[in-house]
């Protein structure tokens, strides 16, 4: 090819409408006769509902209807969990859309008011009188499994939601014969995802046709349609789910929530469109949270620093119910990647999923992999300390050597490609590691505490082969789809089953197609997010959209090219075998003047008056791509921090991310994903954390208390990259949406602990707030 737009950092095509306020989000949808729903939520973490008195609310101004669990019971099926990991005794406890007997977290729905206006609905909510018998709460997943702990579900003794064990090699032998063992207890605190757009749903039911349309701030409208069928019973072909502009999700808009189903129920009851949009306070209580593990982890090694075994016991909170993908996160997306970039022959994960009286936990950027990377990289640093080695040296001694086409690891998965030492070398050289260590030593002499954190990570994403999805209990396919449609004038629509919501695929997919078929990016529109217009697909999460959906676009384009060749041969009166294609032109080999552009072909295919015998009119092709494997991006991140011992303040001085996601379609978008990811991971290390009291009340109930990173709290983030293509897909691309979050939390954490080393501090719980650091330094317990 002469000119490739693949690899060029063109501006995101989605930005002008977002920046100028012309985008349409779910809450912007307004329909004739639309009514507004507001949901009454439990103020208690755990309580029995004695009675619900809705009479005052029903007679309040503007109120159309009030429904409770008694109304939805038997009409709406329970909200299902779509990922049931096998052989793990998963307790798929019923999750009613509206609680009828028991509420199990602050925010559990107990009633819904539908009114002529949002304000009237909110006012009427206060008039609903619920008589509760409060029950004891339990917020810590390890505590929830102890004898005598409050029980959430009859069918889940000891609150055990599942027990998943996976291993490779002989871990117990590795530990009993180990020369060195290091151990740590890690609390992965609960996090609140905080997408800038709160969740929203507009449901409209047409009784005459039996059609249900649902606008939903969803990352995966096709899965939403499927679940809407399961919950409402409306057949799938009569349901249309539209995800219009979606203002971020970070995984939190992957699950299908009770709230959307309640909106559907209300519309079906009332025969009117019903809108529900959460407030930010509701977002904090009723949109899923992330992480929330208590982990006991240990690493076995030789005195030379060669790692021989890794073993964990993890209590992973599920919250009150099993959310859509909940069981897969601390298991498949966590345990399988334990060995990271290291050659560790013996690995074992022993994971308990546990019900607690808190907001359900589900996919949050990185989902399972930040936790895995954290525990591994923390243990490697502890090993280095134990052996008196530089942490980088220990990493070097264990890195898997470069491989281009598959590497089997103990947990039974096969990494696609990797060159871990390359990113490590690039990172160390860029930050001048040796010089940093010298500076650190100098500063320590004057009681200034600088710390360096270095992380080598590799992660599993680009979900994924459908066979594997089935084998690990995921109730959906994980292939992707694209339909390319040429219009007579040569412009193109691409219809995709993925559902981007900020990641920039309207730009990168157009870049892929532009290269494949020689069409200008401006002549391409990418259509997504509507189950009626797009082909079946499984959505945007798990860094899969480009690695799976982008490949589908390329494959569909190649079908178009094949048809174009045949049509060009006909028009140029040449044999098809003699037609060559380059840069949007089909020409006869040896005589490039005899040619047809893709636009000529599109016009003829649409007018269709001069087609070869038997060829169908139109220029349209679909491809469905099921990847043979996941992708395994990797890299090295380096953080430098300063810690002020007098007040415990941490200053993030610099941050470097060296990532390898294979060939980059648009390096500016890649850098953007890395920046955002790094910042979100920094949030977990330094500021964020859902704090509950013993009664299960969320103390960090708003942005006044839950500290999100802001620009001035961060240094310039530097990004570099290496390019190791994935052998598994024709574009060689790997996911990049989550790597920043996966690597940065532990990188910053290790940097802080490195800074505190001379002060004797070896452990801190996240987030590393000033007081915690100060207490550890001054040993005030």
């Amino acid at each position: 090819m002469t000119s490739r737009i693949f690899g060029s950092g063109i501006r995101r095509r989605e930005d002008p409408r977002l920046i100028t306020g012309q985008a349409t989000y779910t809450d912007d949808i307004k329909l004739q006769h639309m009514a507004y729903a507001a949901i009454k939520r439990s103020p208690h973490a755990h309580a029995r509902i004695r009675s619900v008195d809705t009479s005052a609310a029903l007679s309040a101004p503007g109120v159309v209807a009030v429904y409770t669990g008694a109304d939805t019971d038997g009409v709406l099926n329970p909200i299902p969990c779509a990922w049931v990991v096998p052989d793990s005794d998963v307790k798929t406890v019923p999750h009613p859309a509206i609680a009828k007997d028991v509420v199990r977290y602050v925010g559990d729905a107990v009633a819904v008011v539908v009114a002529e206006s949002r304000y009237q609905a909110e006012d009427a909510i206060d008039l609903i009188n619920v008589d509760y018998e409060t029950l004891p709460a339990v917020v810590n997943p390890e505590a929830a499994m102890q004898d005598g702990a409050p029980q959430l579900h009859e069918d889940a003794p000891n609150n055990q939601a599942f027990h998943w064990v996976a291993s490779g090699g002989d871990t117990d032998a590795a530990f009993s014969s180990a020369e060195v063992v290091v151990r740590e207890t890690i609390i992965q605190q609960k996090l609140i995802p905080n997408a800038i757009e709160p969740r929203s749903a507009v449901a409209t039911w047409l009784s005459a046709t039996g059609e249900l349309t649902l606008w939903s701030s969803s990352q995966n409208p096709h899965i939403c349609r499927f679940v809407t069928f399961l919950v409402t019973g409306v057949p799938e072909h009569k349901i249309r789910v539209i995800a219009p502009e979606v203002g971020g999700g970070f995984g939190s808009k992957t699950p299908i929530y009770a709230d959307e189903m309640i909106a559907c129920f209300c519309s079906m009851r009332l025969g009117r469109p019903v809108k529900w949009t959460e407030t930010r306070s509701e977002n904090y209580q009723a949109t899923i949270h992330g992480r929330d593990h208590v982990e006991y982890v240990e690493l076995a090694a030789t005195r030379e620093g060669k790692i021989t075994g890794l073993r964990t016991k993890v209590y992973a909170a599920m919250g009150a119910y099993l959310s859509t993908a909940a069981t897969g996160i601390p298991t498949i997306l966590h345990g399988l990647i334990y060995a990271g970039t290291y050659d560790i022959p013996n690995v074992k994960a022993d994971i308990y999923g546990v019900f607690t009286t808190t907001t359900p936990v589900d996919l949050y950027r990185g989902a399972g992999r930040p936790e895995a990377t954290f525990l591994l990289e923390r243990l490697v640093n502890l090993l280095a300390d134990e052996l008196g080695l530089d942490p980088v040296e220990v990493r070097r001694r264990n890195l898997i050597p470069k491989f281009e086409d598959g590497h089997d690891v103990a947990m039974g998965i096969t990494y696609d490609s990797g060159d871990y030492e390359l990113t490590l070398d690039m990172a160390l050289e860029h930050v001048n590691y040796q010089q940093l260590r010298e500076e650190q030593a100098r500063l320590r002499e004057s009681n200034q505490y600088m710390g360096i954190g270095v992380t080598c990570y590799c992660e599993i994403c680009g979900l994924g082969p459908s066979q594997v999805a089935h084998a690990v209990g995921f109730g959906a396919g994980l292939w992707e789809s694209a339909t390319i449609r040429f219009h007579p004038t040569g412009t193109v629509n691409i219809f995709v089953g993925t559902s981007p919501h900020g990641q920039g695929e309207e730009t990168t997919f157009a870049q892929i197609l532009s290269d494949e078929l020689g069409v200008a990016v401006d002549d391409i529109e990418v259509i997504h997010g509507d189950t009626d217009t797009t082909p079946q697909g499984w959505g945007t999460y798990g860094s899969r959209t480009t690695a799976v959906g982008g490949v589908a676009v390329a494959l569909a384009a190649r079908k178009i090219r094949d048809k174009g060749k045949a049509l060009a041969a006909h028009l140029l009166e040449a044999a098809e075998a003699d037609i060559e294609y380059e840069d949007g032109k089909f020409f006869v080999r040896g005589s490039p003047d005899q040619s047809k552009t893709i636009q000529d072909i599109a016009l003829m295919a649409n007018l269709a008056y001069d087609m070869p015998e038997g060829m169908e009119p139109g220029l349209e092709a679909s491809a469905f791509y099921d990847p043979p494997n996941f992708t395994y991006p990797f890299g090295t991140h380096v953080a430098v921090v300063m810690v002020d011992p007098e007040n415990g303040h941490i200053e993030l001085r610099s941050y470097l991310a060296v990532d390898d996601c294979g060939p980059q379609i648009n390096p500016v978008i890649v850098a953007g994903q890395v920046h955002g990811g790094v910042v979100q991971g920094a949030g977990q290390a330094l500021w964020e954390g859902a704090v509950y009291d013993d009664n299960g009340q969320l103390l960090t109930g708003s942005m006044m208390d839950y500290a999100l990173p802001r620009a001035h709290m961060l240094p310039d983030i530097e990004t570099l990259s290496t390019v190791t293509p994935s052998p598994h897909n024709p574009l060689g691309v790997k996911g990049i949406g989550e790597t920043g979050t996966i690597a940065s939390t532990i990188t910053i954490y290790n940097a802080v602990l490195d800074a505190l080393k001379p002060l004797g501090v070896t452990h801190l719980d996240m987030p590393l707030t000033s007081e915690k650091v100060w207490r550890a330094i001054h040993q005030r317990g």
């Binding site: 206060d126 942005m703 707030t769 007081e771 005030r780």
Partner: protein, 294 residues
């Protein structure tokens, strides 16, 4: 985040606002709305009516004369931060304003609303206490009080979300004594990472003559609902030559002024706040005497 129903009235003068306060018993004055509206939306406050004083021009603006800087109650934090007059007469006030919240908060929030709200995490109470500011209050007048009165900072702040403001009174202005050329003033705060409100704040005003401190006025916020005057630190400083050692020794004495039970929460415990009171006091003093940089 939807407020319960309320009536809305717009006052065009202070007199009208006072008259409306009398007329609508459960009403609240609305200035920038940055403390009041969140309370309404969380349904922590449910006034029957709001009286919008936002359009009253006599409550706005900054004037400097002789010894006093007068700041209208309705002046926004941003206007204060940007005011050349304030920067000349009392730089610490401009700097404190600049450190409040974020641009949205500074553009809407007013100094009057801030002090009347009397939030223990606010910056103004601490800064204005150290500066010995006076609060100008206008009311309907009557047997018990005059129509216009002026209250010292130490009498104005009366507890958690409480001030000396009586029923149907409006705060019209804040008078800050102009700093002399031999006075140094600084404010140092530990900002909460979520809201940027002050977890701990220390404000210092020191007078230096012939290299020695001759007077000191120091207030610390974030300990109890209202600012505390750090009199132990003040008296330790007076007569001293100011340097890193004397400042540290004096600042450490702040603990003596923090008796009784202190505030604490899951972000910052009472113990930590107490220790940070000394740190922030020292920071403010070091900045004031030019031994530290911003």
């Amino acid at each position: 985040m939807y407020a319960a129903e309320f009536d809305y009235h717009k006052a065009s003068s202070v007199a009208e606002a006072i008259q409306m306060l009398g007329q609508y018993p459960d009403a609240k004055l609305l200035a920038g709305g940055h403390s009041l509206l969140p309370m309404l939306k969380m349904r922590l406050a449910n006034p029957t009516a709001l009286i919008d004083i936002g359009g009253i021009s006599e409550l706005k603006g900054i004037t400097v004369n002789d010894g006093t800087v007068t700041i209208g109650a309705l002046t926004t934090h941003q206007e204060i931060a940007a005011s050349q007059d304030i920067q000349n007469a009392c730089m610490v006030v401009a700097e404190a304003a600049e450190g409040i919240g974020d641009p949205q908060v500074r553009n809407r929030g007013t100094i009057g609303g801030n002090v009347v709200h009397s939030d223990p995490a606010s910056d103004w109470p601490t800064v204005l206490t150290a500066l010995n500011a006076r609060f100008v209050i206008q009311g309907p007048g009557g047997i018990t009080h005059r129509a216009t009165r002026t209250v010292n900072a130490s009498d104005f702040f009366k507890g958690l979300f409480e001030t000396d403001l009586k029923e149907n009174e409006v705060l019209t202005a804040i008078e800050v004594p102009r700093l002399n050329s031999n006075q140094l003033a600084e404010y140092a705060k530990m900002a909460h990472p979520a809201s940027f409100y002050a977890v701990v704040g220390a404000s210092v005003v020191i007078t230096v003559e012939n290299d020695r401190c001759t007077a000191a006025s120091i207030a610390v916020g974030g300990m109890v609902p209202n600012p505390i005057r750090a009199s132990s630190v003040e008296s330790a400083l007076v007569g001293q030559q100011l340097n890193a050692e004397s400042v540290r020794a004096a600042a450490d004495l702040v603990a003596n002024d923090l008796s009784g039970s202190l505030m604490g929460d899951f972000y910052a415990s009472a113990d930590y706040r107490k220790a940070m009171a000394a740190v922030e006091t020292r920071h403010a003093l070091m900045h004031a005497i030019g031994l530290a940089h911003h």
